[in-house]
Symmetry: C2
Subunit: 193 residues, 2 copies
């Protein structure tokens, strides 16, 4: 993301003259890797898309809940004895790093008041969201399966940290629920250009 060839594109017109709607339309048609688009086809920045405050909020929520799942699960001393719990820790680390990176990108885009509309950036965001989302959902479901087995099917919660396992699983699910809108919006934005 060098200043000489930025991945972000200006939303607002230069300050000297406020743009008329026709100028803003023309500016919008011209961006996006030099490909022109007909009127009304490009999606406007919806709340939750990258580079918007709602998008940043979603990323921060993903980061927070993934970090919470990681912290709660790692605090139990016997999580490495179950493969699914180790997998949850790995998936939470990946989710945390990915969401934190995109939160930083969003903060940058908001600080310089630009919109993340670059086709390649949106494509990378979508693929990354899809992969981390699938891994996080898988880890959360695997942990939920084990937790329900321990707590409800076998009733051996007395010997295990059931509360911690359940909390970590719930945090992972919430992180996935925060990731799903980001992924869907990015994919929609990628497909509708």
């Amino acid at each position: 993301m060098r200043p000489s060839r930025p991945a972000v594109h200006p939303v607002e017109a230069p300050p000297p003259a406020p743009p008329t709607p026709a100028q803003a339309e023309g500016q919008e048609q011209a961006d996006g890797e030099g490909v022109t688009h007909p009127r009304g086809v490009r999606m406007k920045d919806t709340p939750g898309a990258p580079g918007t405050p709602a998008g940043l909020g979603l990323r921060l929520a993903q980061t927070f809940f993934a970090a919470a799942a990681l912290a709660v699960m790692a605090a139990t001393n016997d999580f490495p004895s179950v493969s699914a719990f180790s997998y949850l820790v790995a998936a939470a680390i990946l989710q945390c790093l990915w969401s934190l990176s995109l939160a930083i990108v969003d903060i940058y885009a908001l600080l310089v008041k630009r919109s993340l509309r670059n086709a390649r950036a949106v494509c990378i965001f979508t693929i990354g969201d899809g992969i981390t989302g699938t891994l996080t959902l898988g880890a959360a479901c695997a942990s939920a399966g084990i937790t329900v087995l321990i707590g409800n099917d076998l009733n051996i919660c007395a010997e295990n940290h059931c509360a911690s396992f359940e909390t970590a699983t719930a945090m992972a699910f919430i992180s996935w629920f925060a990731l799903a809108p980001s992924c869907i919006l990015n994919f929609w934005s990628m497909a509708s250009r």
Copy 2:
């Protein structure tokens, strides 16, 4: 899907006069609930979309593997003792019914040589694919977590039907892998109109 107001739209022009490319373009602009689209924006029928032979193949693969997961898991007599395995059976039933229904719709569309391009139909397909896909992936991951716990972490395969559990889990994963392209193509088709 009444004949008086069909959910499918003709792909081929009427037989008397073969259409010129301009006519075909005009015909394509006019369909889709009366909304006109500019040139080059509508996606052509890609292989794997609903109403294509590849799409039918994907649906049949989903149905077959979901039915296989269901059959293998239900054949073990102790699956109700583990919640995750019961959940896998329920998810496989849902997946099987959903994919079979859409396979029948695809067969109908292929028999009458029409393309499924109705906006509402694609929207319903996408949402249904998303829900069944998430449930199937969750069930497969939960079962995988239990199977790995039994087989690798606790080493109690001698007392359990590990082979059956592993086979059913693998079938559920394959069914999900066949569902993912359908869901992505439907969502792309919905977003790009």
